[in-house]
Amino acid sequence: MRLLLFIVRRLLLLIPTLLGVTLITFVLSRAVPVDQLVETYLNLRSPIPRDQQIAAARALLHLDDPIPVQYVYYLGLLLRGDWGFTNTELYHGTVTAALVLFFPPTVELAIAATFLATFLGIPLGTISAVRKDRISDHVTRVVALTGYSMPLFWLALLLQIFAVRFVPSLPINGQVSPGILSGRAWLVGTGVFESKPTHFLILDAALNGDGEIFWNALQHLILPTLALTYGFLGVILRMVRSGMVDAMGQEYVKTAWSKGLPESVVIRKHIRRNALLPVTTVVGLLFAGLLGGVVLVEDVFVWNGIGRWATVAIISHDLAAILGTTLIFALFLVLANLVVDIIYAYLDPRITL
């Protein structure tokens, strides 16, 4: 009941945030010259003449109405999934179709990196806190510090150089080797893939029982995942360590020690459980942040996700794609914040809104 109430109130708080975010993207879209804005709603490959399309786009955007009215219609367009047309070397078509196509590879990468960073970060952070100021602590802290001090795209480049020199069999870019693609009903496309049924390449390969593509795609995932993981491991490590060091000084931990409980029980059940609370927040937000950080890594590894699409859009002056990416990232971050807050309220009964 308490949790339900919390969720309802949190959802209500979502409304001003969503309005604010869409207001910002609206202002951005109206800050460009009108011709450029209209251009984002033109389908360059459609047989309909350009003049008619321009007239239709102006009507669709309600450009002759006052600005506040335009905002309401803008919200309507967003809800209907009418986000305009993108026209880059990667994809021609509606923005929403492009998002459906480019989002899965990015999520794939972000999930892999979040899992790896969490499963490495929690034990390493524990070791670091338990052996505070000893050699293993110093090593972990240096790993963490260099991790978040490193530009991810630079790390990605270094990994590529390293792989080329020392592990030549490891693929350094792309999602799957182009040579093995032909003759598959569930997989369409060469550079940008459309795989059925879920659009997640690795998952689809597993579902279709295609071992060759599955292993190949998994190998392609290694380097980008490593680059992202090393960058974000530091944040988790730091969080776990400081949380545990704080918890160690608490009275209830002293009580646990003085009761004569075994070390592993005190560390796992008394100290770490409390230290992990803030870590859930970080992991959730990290997942959302990863989607942002992924932009640069994707560019280096030619990984055709949202990030690479956005980079290509910048270079080829594609406004629809840029506005679409901004909005989708913002919505995703809002959603991640919501989920994290709810999980937090579930885990920690002291939280009230």
Partner: protein, 315 residues
């Protein structure tokens, strides 16, 4: 009657000057104590040293002439390794990168540009955020509520993508990029300062100041603000490392159009990237290292400051 008032005003201003002087002395003592405590910690001292070194390089680099950087020699247009790399060019410490740029000189110049722009973003964000947070925390009410909602919005926008969108819509150059980063950079400071203000406001000395008839402005700037600065200093030093990386990243993906030569660390990495980094690793190694060392430095400094400025650990 009038003369009396003037005499009183004279007394007040004299005591004000003495008070100011005493206040300055106290603050200077406090800063030198902070410095001494900082230097006692080897990691924090290293961080301070690195930061000062970079500031020094940035200042010195403004006196370097541009012509030393471009050593375009078309007979050897390929990047040349430094002398210690193995069959490297004698006399060149960091080698060259495409198209015939002396990497050492270019990195010095790049540090100057990167440091300049990222400190504008961070300091600007800190000052704006501090003022807003101070007023919001002190006044409360509707202004506070509005501020918290707008920081909610700012928190839910991924700044990299947002900076791209804003600067794309307005103009793709350094100044606009700076401004768009600034728009998203103040809310965390506003939150930080606001939470501090709420804690400090509850103290007895604020009550006392109000009872003595101090104005709101005086209470805010003389009594509350100085007590909220410590976490802001920490945040500024940590943020410098973040912003410089965002900057380099945006230039790297080709956000600010440039052709040929731009002395900026992200651009230098980009030139290396374009010239087959697997054959010429140093072209991306050194500019990246320059970024990493700076970020490690400000992070060490920030962590050290956090410990040193914590009043519980201070004396």
């Amino acid at each position: 009657m009038g003369a009396h008032v003037e005499v009183r005003r004279g007394i007040r201003s004299a005591s004000g000057r003495a008070e100011l002087w005493r206040g300055l002395r106290r603050r200077l003592d406090e800063y030198s104590l902070t410095l001494r405590l900082l230097l006692k910690r080897p990691l924090a001292a290293a961080g301070l040293l690195i930061t000062l070194l970079y500031v020094g390089i940035a200042i010195a680099a403004s006196f370097l002439p541009d012509r030393d950087v471009l050593q375009t020699n078309f007979t050897t247009a390929y990047p040349q390794p430094p002398w210690w790399w193995g069959n490297g060019t004698p006399g060149s410490w960091f080698g060259t990168t495409y198209p015939g740029i002396d990497l050492g000189m270019a990195i010095f110049k790049a540090i100057r540009i990167d440091l300049y722009y990222s400190s504008i973003v961070v300091l600007g964000g800190a000052i704006v955020g501090m003022l807003v947070g101070l007023v919001a925390g002190y006044k409360g009410g509707l202004f506070d509520e509005g501020l918290m909602r707008s920081t909610d919005v700012a928190y839910s926008i991924p700044f990299l993508v947002f900076a791209i969108a804003v600067a794309y819509v307005i103009s793709r150059d350094f100044t606009t990029l700076n401004l768009s980063l600034l728009i998203l950079w103040w809310p965390p400071y506003a939150r930080l300062v606001r939470s501090q203000v709420l804690a400090v406001k509850a103290n007895m000395f604020v009550e006392a100041a109000r009872a003595a008839g101090a104005s709101d402005l005086r209470i805010m700037f003389r009594h509350i603000l100085p007590n909220t600065l410590a976490p802001v200093f920490v945040q500024v030093s940590l943020d410098l490392g973040v912003v410089i990386q965002i900057f380099a990243a945006l230039i790297f993906i080709g956000f600010v159009p440039h052709s040929g030569y731009l002395p900026e660390l992200g651009a230098l990495i980009f030139y290396g990237f374009g010239s087959e980094p697997t054959s010429y690793p140093w072209t991306i190694l050194f500019p990246g290292l320059a970024l990493v060392i700076f970020t490690v430095g400000v992070n060490l400094l920030g962590d050290g400051l956090r410990d040193v400025l914590d009043p519980r650990l201070r004396r």
